[in-house]
Symmetry: C2
Subunit: 439 residues, 2 copies
């Protein structure tokens, strides 16, 4: 095959993902050249420290400590922003787009915080911004939503978008270990960061939810406009209680749009899912996304959501799309800059109006009359009890686990405030949402 085009790639950031992209591009260079009809060359790599030892060997001549140099280098066509964080990453991205370059990024926090600015810069200067690796790692969910399911309006998208949390919940459930033990183990295995808060408090999932919500609905939703709750207050008892009730617990992003009111709702929280649902069956570090479209119905996508190789697979698919754009003239409609989802009149639903059923765990004094008090508070706030499990907690205390019939965030919030104020309730109540998603 005759190859007349050579595309120069600059990698900004050479950590786990950057090295993965380098490794796989080099390994499969011949295949990729043949598939794309163009040579793809990594011609420059920005690192923090040129002299640091790395497991992937690269010529020192490729390296620079100045990522902006790559963004401004006229010989580089595609800039892979794999730096992480949002400060330098934003600068590099905007600089490259100003030169009309194509930027490939895995950075969900960057998109969530600065997406509007980035896409505006891409439109203004004729650059492009690709981000398949930013959500659900190796699963091509961005391409599926933007292109494969283009005929659809999305009433619901939900899924497991953080492998660390899914690993922790799976281990807690299957081995009955407390959160702190499993977290420690996850850190030892490299599944959790030294500072785990971004993952376990739900922020990473919220960033990804923001990307998906924008892609599906054209609205930028910030984490501050969502319900965001993490998994750090869950106990193995919650997972076994849920199992008794026929549920698994997963940290989910849930994006719903009601096309009759045109209201959008984005939330991230541990969710009780029916055990026999597809997403509930996805364990370990895997991610899973369920997409409900008005034409296709529900489709599911499952795979590794993070890690060097899965993320590299997604970055390389974006590089392939970038090469196609360069080869045949920029500007296919399916890039995200020109993609105009059905935004018209779409507003954010007030969070307190969200309806659903709830799981409530209360630690209460083990004495008579407590259950009556709890039941009265719930009833006064129009929260009606569906099931109840009582277990001993520790000496003198009992654990009350309730599930409710359908109610809403406002009622449950008021009821919880009153419950917390009861002298017989010993700890802040734990509330989980039940996702009765059967597809």
């Amino acid at each position: 095959m005759k190859v007349s085009l050579s595309v120069n790639i600059g990698l900004c950031g050479f950590g786990t993902v950057g090295q993965g992209v380098y490794k796989h591009l080099v390994k499969s260079r011949a295949d990729i050249t043949e598939r794309l009809g163009a040579e793809v060359k990594i011609t420059r790599i920005a690192v923090n420290d040129i002299n640091k030892k790395r497991s992937v060997k690269v010529s020192k001549q490729l390296l620079t400590e100045d990522a902006l140099e790559i963004a401004n280098d006229p010989s580089i066509h595609v800039v892979c922003e794999l730096i992480g964080g949002t400060a330098l990453a934003r600068k590099v991205t905007l600089a490259a787009l100003k030169h009309g370059k194509i930027v490939v990024s895995a950075n969900k926090a960057l998109i969530c915080d600065h997406g509007a600015e980035i896409f505006e810069a891409a439109r203004k200067f004729g650059g492009h911004f690709f981000f398949e690796a930013s959500v659900a790692g190796g699963i091509p969910i961005i391409k599926a939503l933007r292109e494969g399911l283009v005929a659809n309006r999305f009433s619901r998208i939900y899924g497991i978008l953080n492998g660390t949390c899914n690993y922790i919940l799976t281990q807690m459930g299957s081995r009955g270990l407390p959160y702190s033990d499993v977290l420690k183990q996850a850190k030892e295995l490299g599944y959790a960061e030294a500072d785990e808060s971004l993952d376990v408090e739900g922020w990473d999932t919220a960033h990804k939810a923001s990307v998906l919500a924008w892609l599906a609905h054209g609205v930028w939703v910030k984490p501050s406009q969502m319900i965001v709750e993490g998994i750090n207050r869950l106990s193995p008892a919650d997972l076994s209680n849920a199992a008794t009730l026929g549920y698994s617990i997963k940290l989910l992003a849930v994006i719903t749009r009601d096309f009759s009111t045109n209201e959008l709702c984005v939330r991230v929280h541990p969710t009780l899912l029916p055990v026999n649902s597809v997403v509930a069956s996805v364990g370990g570090v895997f991610n899973a996304v369920a997409v409900t479209g008005d034409v296709v119905g529900t489709t599911h996508y499952i795979g590794r959501g993070a890690g060097q190789d899965a993320t590299a697979s997604a970055v390389i698919s974006d590089i392939a799309d970038a090469v196609a754009l360069i080869k045949h003239g920029k500007g296919t409609h399916l890039t995200s800059e020109s993609y105009e989802p059905n935004t018209k009149g779409c507003t954010l639903a007030p969070l307190e109006r969200i309806t659903g059923s709830y799981y409530i765990r209360l630690t209460v004094k083990d004495q008579s009359g407590v259950l009556a008090k709890v039941a009265r508070v719930l009833s006064q706030n129009k929260v009606s009890i569906a099931t109840m499990i009582q277990n001993p907690a520790h000496v003198g205390a009992a654990s009350l686990v309730l599930t409710t019939h359908e109610t809403n965030e406002k009622s449950i919030g008021k009821a919880l405030k009153r419950l917390s104020a009861l002298g017989s309730v010993l700890e802040t109540p734990l509330v989980l949402r039940i996702g009765n998603f059967t597809d």
Copy 2:
């Protein structure tokens, strides 16, 4: 939004799928125009009988009884070949491609039988052929393999590609009903054709396997070069035996490539899958595909594999890609004509060398010594027994269900021939393959 481009679509075939495409394109015309930056108009529809009553109302002026007229009409940019069958469909497809048009097709039999000729014509005359709807209905699996997973070489692709068979097996398993009863019910519900043979004998799945094998490996494999076995000899007892052993039974297409020997193997057969695997958990009319790539690991795709709406969703996504091509100049690398997968030196593995474990059900005379004879035949052919279940079959007969340790097609074939010749074996033995795919 200013729209300067109008793309004219001709529908050839106006059955279930054609009417679905029409309905959804008309319904979401405004959305689609905005997303694609181009107007999409259905300007001509070929039908069998202009005067036939249809649930979807269209102006008679749009209709013609000559599909070739559409293929040859210079005002039509995109021809949707939704005729079915391979004779007229081939003529229409080749005629349209000769005019450099884009053809969108849902026709797996056409691609399997005439794919090489079709892609050659597309290359020669500058046309394009899109076929997202040909495999797994609304699941964007073609796009995922070709674009989303472009960084990968595929060691294994397997899945449920026929919703009719999956519905029948699910019903047989959950309700214990015999094959013939469930088939009758599936016909009444419209899940099975009046002539069910294409589905239940595995040919439809084989056509789809051929499309996926070509896409992943660049080799055209005909059904005659595959193992193709259907579900029509299965009994509810097989499903319950399998369940006892920890398996579900699914009709699978299995495409494996060994990159050390560079051998490709394509087969279609009912398969025992571990009950806790993702694909095993997919029931009813749903399809599921598991794709193992060398970079990304295994990803799963699940959704409706057939039906008016799911297929229309896929056809419309192809129309969107066609509009992008027209809008920005034809020829992005990711169309299948110019896509050159890693074919080099890839050969078909001799079927008899395929290894695996097997499930064998024998109906034997219920008398002493029979088990010894069966065991001897197996042992003489180097087939070693892993598990055995014996149940009464009918008066004077017993059902022997064996699973084997790993062996190969040649040994099992020889053993079965010998078993069939035993006087104490009353019916042709039923053999199923065990797919110990844990991912």
